[in-house]
Symmetry: C2
Subunit: 363 residues, 2 copies
């Protein structure tokens, strides 16, 4: 067997090279998006976004522009007062096809009061989607909803509350059904609070974080599935590199993010087997410049974080294109995942040696 492996493994090495040579997805420079004009989408079948757009059209059987207005619209925040308004911002512009794909779509974004969730809400608003936002802090959510309406959201409303409450997932989906009569995309993005520090031994914290970061995702997806099956929609699960590679100081957080991978990657395959046309996109994010991430890790991790605005747009695009996984930023996350397979101990050792361990706070 040893000899067999010694022959097989180099062959797999060559296959690896070949695989990445021919991979059209994350590694292609010609793909639209990424702060580029999307003129390239019209150039031919090679543009993944364009293919995704076509697929979206054929799968949903209707184009965004033509789809009926959602039912109800009895929202607290009203319906798209400023539709079409687009303000100059420092954000990357969504490429035309992404904007088209999301126009008029009914999207739930959780954890939308700050960070990447807030930025996703603004992108979706510019794309003229209907929005239902959730987060803990009502005051911040209200402001985000107002801004979304200014930016052009078809409609925007919110529900505030903590996702460790077992009743909230059902409530959110009931609101979507009552307001819109359906749902096209569920973006699961909220997280509970956890420190970047040595595991304190607080098992109660682990249990609570698992409820917020994982069980509520399962509950929201379960409640959303009937609506998403009807619309042939999408589930987008925002995870982290800490949900693929467990570094130090993130034990409870990593557990919850790993759990998301285990659950949703399994569920995705069941949907494929069952010929249910609901996509599941798992988003593996590196270090992003959100306020909370920078506050938590910048004194230990000396890397430069990636911009949250671009990250938010990439997540929306990956969901709209019905991708299996998003790795953002692709080079850093991709190479870490590759190294995890080839030499996990080397990767761990490199990570540990790059940390400013003397700055880690102990609880």
């Amino acid at each position: 067997m040893g000899l067999l492996l010694k022959v097989l493994i180099p062959l797999l090495g060559a296959a690896l090279a070949l695989y990445f040579y021919s991979a059209p997805g994350n590694f292609s420079e010609g793909e639209c998006g990424r702060r580029k004009s999307c003129g390239s989408t019209a150039r031919g079948a090679a543009c993944a976004a364009h293919r995704g757009w076509k697929r979206w059209q054929s799968q949903s059987g209707r184009e965004g522009r033509d789809r009926e207005e959602p039912q109800g619209q009895r929202g607290a925040a009203g319906t798209g007062k400023s539709r079409g308004t687009r303000r100059g911002t420092a954000s990357p512009e969504p490429c035309a096809s992404s904007a088209e794909m999301l126009r008029g779509k009914r999207v739930i974004v959780t954890g939308a009061s700050s960070g990447i969730g807030e930025q996703m809400a603004y992108h979706l608003a510019r794309m003229e989607a209907h929005l239902l936002l959730t987060a803990r802090t009502e005051a911040r959510l209200q402001k985000v909803v107002e801004r979304c309406l200014e930016l052009g959201a078809a409609s925007a409303r919110y529900i505030s509350g903590s996702m460790d409450s077992p009743s909230l997932p059902e409530e959110v989906l009931r609101e979507a059904e009552n307001t819109w009569g359906g749902l096209d995309m569920l973006i699961l993005n909220h997280i509970g609070q956890s420190g970047f520090t040595f595991f304190s031994g607080d098992v109660g914290h682990v249990r609570k974080l698992m409820e917020t970061n994982f069980v509520s995702y399962v509950a929201l997806a379960t409640a959303a599935l009937p609506l998403l099956k009807e619309s042939e929609g999408s589930i987008v699960v925002v995870s982290s590199i800490a949900g693929k590679i467990a570094g130090p100081f993130t034990a409870p957080y990593s557990a919850t993010k790993f759990a998301l991978d285990g659950f949703f990657s399994s569920l995705r395959q069941e949907l494929i087997i069952d010929k249910v046309n609901v996509s599941i996109t798992l988003c593996i994010l590196g270090y992003i410049n959100t306020e909370s991430a920078v506050r938590a890790v910048s004194h230990v991790i000396p890397d430069t974080p990636s911009p949250k605005e671009e990250c938010a747009l990439e997540i929306i695009r990956a969901g709209a294109l019905r991708r299996r996984e998003l790795h953002y930023p692709a080079p850093a996350v991709g190479s870490m995942l590759l190294l995890r397979s080839l030499a996990p101990e080397l990767l761990e050792s490199l990570a540990r040696s790059s940390y400013r361990l003397e700055n880690v706070r102990r609880t």
Copy 2:
């Protein structure tokens, strides 16, 4: 960046080949164990088991033979009546060094009333370890304890109960401390019941399974850490290939096993950083011929399962040798993990096509 990756990736492919060519661990045919006589351990420094044995000695600062008898011994099951007795069985014989390493050690095995846990208890009994076994079913546990004493356990006792009870982990560790005054190895192996079927949407089941398969592992490890730090002992976490690669029909189970990887792989690094000499071994098991596994999946997965007796011995050895991860059976699990990194969609497609999907029961 694309060009850079196209140059880098083939280089990594070559590195992959080189890495596995030079890897001494799982792929070495010369290693002791695996139904072989362990005469080879004396042949030189190349034998991993021998190195591990040496390490065990230097880390714990005392040899198994010479260590003091544990305190207390006020057990329901008495102390090793049949010490040294060894009956002829179909089980693989533990190699001499593994037996030496575990002689007189104080070991907790959870989920020990059947399957791999039961087999681990028997191996440890033959190695003359002190055993504290846990499982739900008292009647079966009693029988396993009796058999352990016949096989030569230094002592054997049990606590029955369900690990979804938050108080049980503390109770188990209190028993170990009161009886032995310490602990050398904690083998976490129990699992809650879950079917091999499409996800039913039962969020309560997901929550309960997470409590049993994951949170109780964290609670047991947390309660054990002070004792294990003192003895420079080991934590062994029994997981599954479904805890690294999420196939269909295992969504809740995979989530819990992925969570174990996230938590314990992170904790392992914190212990390394903190210079705490407690090892954590994560065991990634393929399809094993336990009664419950065969009953759950044999009508869907046509593969031949690996023997639970050998599997149990490999887990004990990996723990004693303080390995980072065990992949058993190594060729199957190793190649699946490699394929996961190189071509995850191909792996998923191959897995799906190898299943007898028509036999999957729906709940």
